[in-house]
Symmetry: C2
Subunit: 361 residues, 2 copies
């Protein structure tokens, strides 16, 4: 698991215990295609399969090997097989993989929802081979033509495990992420992942769509669209995503998204009430105070972003911390580390990782 090209000072490279050299990717769309290119660029052997062979010529030109069927992809015995197919296609993919996936191959995915994918994987009898994965990258485009390995520059992945997960399979996927893609990772359980992904992605996609929908319905939409500048562009950008993809993402995480929409809606109704009650910038009414408190409640996020920007513009990488994992409790230790705000940069051994320290909130 050590980056042999750049051994850490004072350390002899330790033997690679759990490497992911041969990587199969099912689905050469925006994410699968970008990841495939990134892994090839960084020296991994990547075999791709797509539901149609449209992207094969361009993929091959970029060093990605291709096969004609999902079954062939599995039978090639990759160390890791990544399902980068749409969420809606998952059950069919798993049904086809179930009889042919070699036991030695670790199965993972890039889906934006983890609980439901695991249920489907378990139902297909592949639970013991599975480690969930969700790279936190993407844009509003789709298809191999839009693929760009730079989407994975400095990306962070969320891996997800449960109490039955195999540690060496986790380490194999972690090798693909950290040494293969050159990315960072955190690892939590499906429930935490799905709640957090709903908060920072799935629910906001609904909000962006609702904003776009309000504009589209306005009789003054030409004037409003003319007036729209950066704030509107940014807040509605993800409404331009393929709506079928967004809908699938929201449906698969529906209970978390629904709960967050209710919370947001309550907040917005309350602010609307304050504004209707009469607010003033100079007189301190109850409504004005509540409005001020609302704006103040986002201050920890502003502070966090300031700290994050400072770190990003700082020339020196912050000193890495060490994280130890035990055989008995590694899942919880990883989740605790993620909750503290650490991010894994690399594994030194199977039981010790180097982590980026937390930014405090």
């Amino acid at each position: 698991m050590v980056d042999n090209m750049h051994p850490l000072p004072g350390m002899a490279p330790s033997p690679i215990l759990t490497s992911a050299h041969k990587i199969g990717i099912a689905g050469l769309g925006l994410i699968g295609g970008s990841l495939a290119e990134r892994l090839v660029q960084r020296g991994r052997y990547v075999i791709g399969w797509n539901h149609n062979s449209k992207p094969y010529e361009s993929a091959q030109a970029k060093g990605i090997h291709t096969v004609d069927t999902l079954e062939e992809l599995a039978q090639g015995k990759p160390d890791v097989l990544i399902l980068a197919t749409p969420l809606a296609a998952m059950p069919v993919m798993l049904e086809r993989l179930s009889p042919v996936l070699p036991k030695a191959t670790t199965l993972t995915d890039v889906g934006s929802v983890k609980g439901q994918v695991r249920e489907q994987v378990v139902a297909a009898g592949l639970g013991s081979q599975y480690i969930g994965a969700h790279p936190m990258t993407g844009n509003e485009r789709s298809g191999f033509a839009a693929a760009d390995p730079e989407l994975f520059a400095d990306a962070l992945w969320a891996l997800s495990v449960d109490e039955h997960s195999d540690m060496s399979r986790f380490l194999t996927v972690a090798d693909m992420v950290t040494q293969g893609a050159g990315n960072r990772l955190i690892c939590v359980d499906d429930a935490i992942h799905d709640r957090c992904a709903a908060l920072i992605s799935h629910m906001p996609h609904v909000v962006a769509t609702a904003l776009a929908s309000l504009l589209a319905a306005s009789p003054e939409r030409q004037v409003a669209a003319a007036l729209s500048a950066g704030s509107w562009r940014d807040m509605t950008r993800v409404s331009l995503t393929d709506p079928k993809r967004t809908q699938a993402m929201v449906v698969e995480d529906s209970s978390n998204v629904a709960a967050l929409l209710r919370q947001l809606s309550t907040k917005l109704e309350r602010i609307a009430g304050d504004l209707e009650n009469g607010v003033s910038l100079t007189q301190a009414s109850e409504s004005s105070q509540e409005l001020a408190a609302f704006f103040a409640s986002a201050q920890p996020f502003r502070n966090y972003k300031t700290a994050q920007n400072e770190r990003q513009t700082c020339a020196r990488m912050p000193e890495l911390e060490s994280l130890s994992l035990s055989d008995e409790n590694w899942q919880q230790e990883l989740a605790d580390s993620a909750r503290r705000g650490q991010q894994i940069v690399r594994f030194l051994t199977t039981h010790e990782a180097q982590v980026l320290p937390a930014l405090s909130w």
Copy 2:
């Protein structure tokens, strides 16, 4: 009003009837400072005043003249005096200007709300000299140090007038916008402006703040923040704006913002209900259909953005159309043009403008 440097083919430059050569700017913050630099770069004579002299040295280095008091700024008889001070400071500024503003000077501003500013201007006895203005640009920073004339590259302004507005004063401000800043404009009444600005800016600022506030309050905020990528960054960017500035903007447009928050909230509650009722990607329940209809309702906006991108990436400027204005009904003719989706690029005469044709919805 004609760009004398680039007369249109076959046309002799017509006499400049309503030029804005000498421009006073009160408030050298992000917007005032950026506009001042832009106008200087494009050959206008700009005098700035700021409530403190901190930015004066840098401003002077950029060719902006400075004076020590707001009164001096007015007494310098600028063609246009722009109030680029915070909305909350407007009444005090107007009280000071009222006794000293020369009749020949046209008063304008850059405030994000137009109805309330006009009320304050009228109360200060300056209504007959006033044309409202709102340049649709900005970012989350503030102060002259953050000023950047590029903020006004290809910007669009909304001017606002009422039935008492003076056409030649409108044309003077229009000259500053089109020939001075090299920008486009539309012109509507205050009510349309404020409703539309609430839709595409003021209300979304509240939504961005509410999203940031939800994250800040989450016990899993470290995990959620780690997972956050482009969609979250873009949807919360404006929550990083100085909250006092945002709060002022929202308060001054409170009834429009409140109404839109209620509409948005109703939409979000309905989607939450659909998600709670059980939605599926494969089975067509009523909830699933409503969810699909929700995502489809944003389609006109997606189409509009596609058309906009096509226009922007097209090498050739679309052929301009002509807009005629009458002395009797010019305000309504301008508003109708804006509602049709046209944008004024330049005036050929006092009664004829060239407009960018509408993108259809």
